[in-house]
Amino acid sequence: MSKDIIKPENLVYRRTPVLTKNTMHYCPGCGHGTTHRIVAEVIEEMGIQEQTIGIAPVGCAVLAYNYFEVDMQEAAHGRAPALATAVKRLKPDFFVFSYQGDGDLAAIGTAETIHACNRGENITMIFINNGIYGMTGGQMAPTTLEDMKTATSPYGRDIAMMGNPLKITEIVAQLPGTCYVTRQAVYTPALVRKCKRAIRQAFENQKENKGVSFVEVVSNCNSGWKMTPVAANQWLEENMLAFYPLGDLKVSK
């Protein structure tokens, strides 16, 4: 029966050719993979594969250049917005996006994040917030929630001792150089569709030279959180979204 249906004219979804054929090294169920896929789908749908340059971070997405079938540059830890600034200024007709985790963007790279957003560079910044340093074994990040257990906060994050979780997205939304700031997630089909529309908007804005478009994706780290992928998505919904609510923080005309 399915043989009658599996015909080219009935195709409704296939893996985008803007991803390479490489199997991504991410853990099973990791939101990095989903976010890569929808960024690549946006690039395909806009027809800008030859005019797009991506900037990879340090963190689990350090090998992003192996997965996007576009030109990529690898930044030093936290410096993706600075490198994106340089690339965009040298090639203003190109679409330039940075892709960073929370340790990269909101800890070691805080200065680069804030200053690129304050200068209003005409770039798209994709920010994967999983509340942890995934790559290095699950250490506490600035974004780690209160009471959340990590390798370096084994009894949970104690605010009095370890400080408050950082809402960097709320901070960059205050800066005059950002034109579009939004917080999304990718753990259900509806949320993936919505997040993809946000990423599309964030790339479209580059055509109008509006400044930084900043898309946070609240994501899972099932390895760091020590949960199955499905349980991690549930935990994300119940805990991460209470502190990091989804929706647009800033949409400039």
């Binding site: 399915s2 249906i5 599996i6 979804y13 991504m24 993979g33 896929r37 259900t188 089909p189 992928p229």
Partner: protein, 70 residues
């Protein structure tokens, strides 16, 4: 009668299972068998697929191709 069909790239599947709750018709489940990497891969367990593509849209690894009869 099935209106949709999916093709699963077994070797790319990591058996994470995040696609399973996304399916409105309980079409998909993890196999007892494993692929060459040792993951229990996704398989189709009945013919009530409607070709909605929900499973493919949440799959982090782009494992699933979806077809829908016109």
């Amino acid at each position: 009668m099935a209106k949709g069909a999916i093709v699963i790239e077994i070797e790319r599947c990591k058996g994470c299972g995040v696609c399973i709750p996304a399916c409105p018709n309980k079409v998909i489940a993890l196999s007892k068998k494993v692929n060459s990497k040792g993951y229990n891969y996704l398989e189709v367990q009945n013919d009530s697929c409607i070709g909605c593509a929900n499973c493919a849209i949440v799959c982090p690894d782009g494992v699933i191709t979806v077809y829908r009869a016109k």
